[in-house]
Structure formats: C-alpha cells, structure tokens
C-alpha cells in the first residue's frame, strides 16, 4: 500500500551571499526522509533553525525543494507543473503559528474563511456563505463572529478561524507549524482536543511541528526528531519518549518543562 505522505531525500538550499549569483549556500534541509500513514499524526520535533518550517513549506508546495521528492497519495508533488500543483494544493494545508500574521488583519472573519472558495472560483456567493457557516460551527466559533476582524478575536478564536480556513477545501493533510505554541495553556488544550476530534470525524492526517515534546506526546502516533536539516531519529511515540537514542533527542527531552510521567510514560536518562 502506498504511504499517504512520503518524503524522500529532500534537500533545500538557500543562497546565503549578497548577490543572487553567489556560491554561498545554506542547507536548510539536508536529505530529509519520512513517511506518514493516512489518518495518523506525526510530530516533528526540533529546535528553532532545525529546518522544520522549511520542510512544512516544501510539503505544502509553497517552496521549491532543491532536490528530492515528496509523494502525496502516490504523486510526486515536487515534480509537478504549477497548474497541476494548484489542483492538489487544497488537499495539503498549513496552519501557522501566529494567527495575527496568517490572517489578514483588515478582513472580516467571513472574508477570511471564504477566501479559499473565492480563489478557486467555483462557488456562488450564497454557497460560499453557507459553507462558511458550516465551517465555523465545526470549529466551535459562533456565527455572530462573521463580521468581526481579527483584532476583535482572542488567540484561541483566531486559531480556530485559521483551522476553519484550512478545512475549507477538503484538506486531507494538515501541517500544523507550531500552531499551538503561541496560545495559553488552557486554550492549547481546547484547540488540541478540537484537532483530535476533527481528525477522527474527518479522517485527517496531521503533521504536527513543535519544539515541545509534551505536546508531541499528547498528540502524535509517531515522532520524528530533526536537527540541522536532518531527521536524526524517528519511530513510534512511546519508543522515542521511553528510550531516546540520539543526543539531540535527549537534550530536547531534557529541556521539556512538563514531566512525561504525567502521560504515563517514564524516561530513562
């Protein structure tokens, strides 16, 4: 059976010099491979600068990898032409860390949530509004919020809106790039429960990027640890947490403020 998402040897270089033709390159991704079975969650853990966000952008087709392949339901999305990619894009959605910048502050909630429909151009105005209301219900936002701007919404509400927007066009894979990191603890719990609930009702697959192991433990079936543009360790969640092998994993675990025992796991140092 084909894996739902499979990344093979992904490499992404950025030019580091002053001029566009400079030879200096910075390798954000240095040969990354991972795979996620359908309807499961993979947590990608790593420090800032390890390349997590770059990986997210590449998988979502928002950046071009320098080399390597990304197989989504058996299709190599990295190798597709732009217009073919467009068709696939709605299925892979990204939810960003800071909703204040991922939602246009001048737009109302309705405009934000209906934007995907607008862009795809397939729906009538009435249709768009109906679907928007359905989406808002699904993420737990009251319909009265449609005319509010992001400045009038709380952090949790904004993220719910971002999730609603991601779901608008039947997304199958949702990449959450530190999506809960900017929220208060209690709100984090609410939103992560919402995400789990959506996963089971809609059959979503999650790639959950975080630097917090506790969050990863709560969420994911599998964990992959990233360091300096490479996956240094990956496997089932309990295994990683119980017996981390790589040094990077250990130091990240050690830095986790919450004790994993709360989750019924013990760690050997």
């Amino acid at each position: 059976m084909q894996p739902f998402l499979k990344v093979e040897n992904l490499v992404k270089h950025y030019a580091a010099g002053r001029f566009a033709f400079s030879k200096d390159k910075f390798a954000a991704l240095d040969g990354v491979s991972l795979s996620i079975p359908a309807k499961t969650s993979l947590a990608l853990v790593g420090e800032s600068g390890s390349g997590k966000s770059t990986l997210a952008l590449c998988i979502a087709c928002l950046e071009h990898p320098t080399s390597g392949s990304i197989w989504f339901e058996g299709i190599d999305v990295a190798a597709l032409q732009k217009n073919q990619q467009r068709l696939l894009r709605p299925h892979i959605q990204l939810v960003f860390q800071d909703p204040a910048s991922s939602l246009n502050p001048r737009w109302t909630a309705l405009e934000i949530v209906t934007e995907p429909f607008f862009v795809q151009g397939r729906f009538s105005k009435q249709d768009r509004n109906d679907r928007a209301c359905t989406l808002l219900d699904r993420v737990g936002l009251s319909r009265k919020m449609v005319s509010r701007r992001t400045g009038e919404l709380s952090g949790g509400q904004k993220q719910r809106l971002a999730i609603a927007r991601a779901l608008a066009l039947d997304a199958k894979l949702i990449i959450l790039d530190e999506a809960l990191s900017a929220l208060d603890c209690s709100v984090q719990a609410q939103i992560s429960n919402l995400l789990l609930e959506l996963q089971s009702s809609l059959g979503l697959t999650y790639l959950f990027i975080t630097h917090d192991f506790a969050m990863a433990a709560h969420f994911a079936d599998q964990i992959a640890v990233m360091d300096h543009g490479r996956i240094v360790e990956s496997g089932a969640a309990e295994n990683i947490l119980r017996s981390p092998i790589h040094e990077a994993t250990r130091s990240l675990l050690a830095a986790t403020p919450r004790v994993p025992e709360t989750y019924g796991l013990s760690v050997e140092s």
Partner: protein, 351 residues
Amino acid sequence: MTRPRKLARWFVALVVLHCVVAGAGFFAPYDPDEQDRERPYLPPMRIHVMDAQHRLHLRPFFYPLRLREGSFDQYEQDTTSAVPLHFFIRGAAYRLLGFVPSRLHVFGASGARICLLGSDAYGRDQLSRILYGGQVSLLAGLLGAGITLFLGALIGMAAGYYGGWRDELLMRAAELFLALPWLYLLFALRAFLPLAVSPLEAFLLIVVVIGMVGWARPARLVRGVVLSVKERDFVRAARGFGASDLYLLRRHILPETASVLLTQAAILVPQFVLAEMTLSFLGLGVPEPMSSWGNLLASLQQYSVLVSYWWMYLPALAIVPFFLGYLGLASALQERTGAYKIDENSSWSPT
C-alpha cells in the same frame, strides 16, 4: 486635535479650494479671453461703500478707471459715475465642469468692467485668468501625479513581487532616475520634443513628461511595502489554496500600498503643479492664449512690467494656499502612518 480630525480638516480645505477653481466659470466675473485693448494694464480696482460725497450705499460699488490726462498708462478713478456691483448676475456664457452650460456669475457689473486684480497688456481681467489658469495648472499637477504614481506602483510591485534580476534591474534604473537633477531632466525632456504645438497638445505633452520623471521614489516605497507584505503568512496561506500572483497582488498587497501612495500623492501634486508653472513661465509649457499660473507670470520677464505693473505678480500667490493645503495633508497623513524619518521621502525639494 485628534489625528482623523486633523486629516479631515486639511482634506476639506483642499476640496473647497479645488471646487473654487473647478467652478472658475462661476467665480470669475469675465471670460478669460475677453480683451479690452482700450484699457490695458489696469491696476487692481477698489470696491467702496462710501462715495466721494460721503454717502453710504447699501450696494457696494466701484468707480470705473479712465486714463489720466497726458498719460498713457496712469489711471484714475472716475468719481462721477458709481457703478454698482451685482451678485449672482448673468454674464458671459461658460460651461461648468466642461458640460453644464450656464451664464451665472457670483458677482459682476453692467456698464463697466471691474478688475479686482487688475488687467494685463490686452486688458484681460486677471482674476478670471487666475481662476481659469488654476484649472490648467492643477489639472496638470493632478494628472501628472496620477501618471507617476501609476508607473511607480506598477514598477514597484513588479520589482518587489518578482524579485531576482528584474528587481535588480528596475531598482538600478530607479537609482539612475533619482540621481538625475529633476528640473534639468524635465526641461530636457520637454525641450527636445517639438516646441510649436497647439495648447492642448502642449498640455498633454507636459503632463506626460512631468509624469514620467518622478516614478522612482514612489516605486522604491511601493517595493518596500511589497517586500514586507509578500512574506506575511496570510499571503502564503492564500497561495496555499492556489491563488494566482495577480490575485495576491490585487487583493492582499495592493491595499497595503494605499497609504504610501496617498502620502506620495499629497507630496507630489504640488511639486508637479510647480513644475508646470516653471515650464510655462519659461515658455516651455502651456502657450497663449490658454492661461495657466505659469504663463500668467511670463510677462514678468520684462523689466517694464516689473517696474510699473506689480499686480502681474499676483498669480504667483495663487498657488500658496494650495501648497499649504497639500503640505498640511501630507504631514497629517505621515503622522497617521507614524512615519517621520529624515530622508528624501519627507523632503519638499524636487532633487
């Protein structure tokens, strides 16, 4: 005063000023081309309410001027006939805003001409010419600024959005244009094009020339905005559902450039009006018989006019309230966006 109030105050003041000029037909007592060769170079005429016999008149009046005995350019008031001033009187025909025919003027007189600001060598009323001339000069400034901002926005967006070699090329070109002495470029551009053209052609020519000179600064500013907006996550997200470049530029990026463009407009329009005035003053702009603030001043190049007919300077003062209005608007806009930086963008000088 709060910022929005301040902004509104300046804006309203400007609108009023522009309306007066737009309604030149109504506010001007005479047709600007109406000549009176018997009485050239009339000095500004005074309005009285108390006549020579110390009687008070209810209706303001004036004394027509006649040539003094033995002089050919000195006038004196003819106190024997007091000509009353009427308001909202029927006078020369004109078309309001170019298409509404009317004969109504805000003030005027029958029987003699009242030249509140004097008249020129052909006896044409200066007040009327200033008002009509304002239409030409202001329009040149507004259209020129429109062209510049359009060009600048286009180039700035292309450079900022696409980046790469296109960006480099465009920005080097912008540097080149910024480095050129503005006024020289203007003159050179204008003078190297055909000189003897009809007034309308001349007007269009200078509007285009003025518009093409100043695109570099707005382009750089717009590019800055585009560069910062381009990386915002909501733009990325929109791309994530397959938005095209045009969509992103139109719906997300363009609205962000609005405030920069507005501020630039407030700074550029008066500069461009001044450019038209300079060109016309030196004979490179709008030619006679069309009047513009610039060519109304052209007669000042003659020594005799400077010495004897000081009121020919008055058209120069016409631009001052507009400069004030635009300057106020620009600084209110800059306050609103919180940008007070000491750099070329806040300077008034054209270079």
